[in-house]
């Protein structure tokens, strides 16, 4: 405990949404992440932790989107990676 008001959310990243044909799941992760980084006024170099949300099976021909895959494509080198169960 004792975490009250110690941490803050500082940026949100959106992407085109709804019916958006011709895009991979990975591409939505990358766009949302890049937009969140920009929205917060940060750069990729600042990001040292990455959590990917729980997810669905990859579509045919697409890779399973793991946190290290997202980190790789964002050029991140995070101290901590995880996949959230919640």
């Amino acid at each position: 405990m004792g975490t009250k008001d110690k941490y803050a959310i500082v940026g949100v990243g959106y992407t085109p949404q709804g019916s958006v044909r011709g895009r991979t799941t990975l591409s939505f992760h990358l766009e949302a992440c890049a937009n969140a980084i920009e929205d917060a006024g940060l750069t990729g170099k600042d990001i040292d932790g990455l959590i990917c949300y729980r997810h669905f099976p990859a579509a045919t021909g697409e890779p399973d989107v793991t946190p290290y895959l997202v980190a790789q494509y964002l050029g991140l080198d995070p101290a901590h990676l995880s996949q959230d169960a919640n």
Binding site: Y7, V12, D46, L76, N86
Partner: protein, 290 residues
């Protein structure tokens, strides 16, 4: 990660091309295992099983859920990103939507969306120097009953929402009366009801009374899912509700912004939820304007 000093800026990401790809078909084919033998597929049917037992245990059902579907749609109609921005929904429209897996109708179900969503967490000190007014995490709590429908006791008691909220409120040091709005994980209408019920907004069977009269709509006394939510904005798991709470507290929500323009309280504190599996995991977050 942050509290252990491992990280300074944590990025949380979700993305999916669920609407335009074959991902969901592959999930349907993979999941369920032997449930498929009996023609049972997917999360909607599992939540419908839970909802039916709830209907047997206390007063709930379409009469309650219609207010959730219609109320959230009114918010979506104010949100240019929402998949249902241009389609209003009346109570009749709700009843006229086709039965999918009874007791659920089409409009009890969330959307399937293409897209992504992300946010960034850092310390309150670091947050001060950044672009937007930071949104502070007052309290957070989880409870994960884990058991699936065959062994779960939540259908005869409360879901993980109850203990998760108790933990979050204990950290935040506030009560339900301090909450200005809620952004609730709404994979199905029933999920909103059971979550708010387990959070203590009303007792079992009192949901219909609580929701009716526009409680959660623009102008209502407890706005819920102000982007339209998973039901009427887009499905990005727990990030749809959480990011909406952040944007509301930052004051960046345009036409749907909580406050005088939607005839609601200007939000200081928003309560958020997420749950996973079939009510098997639950996270509760209390966020506030800095």
């Amino acid at each position: 990660m942050l509290d252990a000093g491992l990280c300074n800026y944590v990025l949380v990401s979700y993305g999916h091309n669920g609407r335009s790809s074959d991902s969901f078909l592959r999930m349907m084919a993979d999941m369920g295992g032997d449930d498929q033998v009996f023609g049972h597929f997917g999360a909607a049917s599992c939540y419908a099983l839970a909802a039916r037992r709830a209907m047997h245990t206390f007063r709930t059902g379409p009469e309650t859920w219609k207010h959730i579907a219609v109320g959230q749609r009114k918010w979506a109609n104010l949100n240019p990103r929402a998949m249902f921005q241009r389609q209003p929904m009346s109570l009749d429209d709700y009843y006229n939507s086709r039965m999918t897996v009874e007791p659920f109708r089409l409009f009890d179900n969330c959307l399937i969306s293409d897209g992504g969503r992300a946010y960034i967490v850092t310390s309150a000190e670091r947050a001060r120097d950044l672009r937007h007014p930071p949104v502070l995490i007052m309290g957070t709590g989880q409870h994960n009953p884990a058991s699936d429908l065959q062994t779960a006791d939540f259908m005869t008691g409360s879901t993980g929402a109850k203990k998760a909220a108790e933990r979050a409120f204990a950290v935040a040091g506030i009560g339900l009366g301090d909450i200005d709005a809620c952004e609730i994980y709404d994979c199905f209408t029933y999920t909103v009801e059971i979550t708010l019920q387990d959070y203590g907004f009303f007792g079992p069977g009192e949901g219909e009374e609580w929701f009716k009269g526009g409680t959660i709509e623009p102008g209502g006394r407890m706005p819920v899912n102000t982007s339209g939510g998973l039901l009427s904005e887009a499905y990005f798991m727990g990030l749809t509700p959480l990011t909406e709470a952040v944007m509301q507290l930052m004051g960046r929500c345009g036409e749907r912004q909580l406050g005088p323009q939607t005839n609601t309280r200007t939000p200081q504190i928003i309560l958020c939820s997420d749950n996973g599996g079939i009510l098997q995991t639950h996270a509760c977050h209390i966020l506030r304007r800095a």
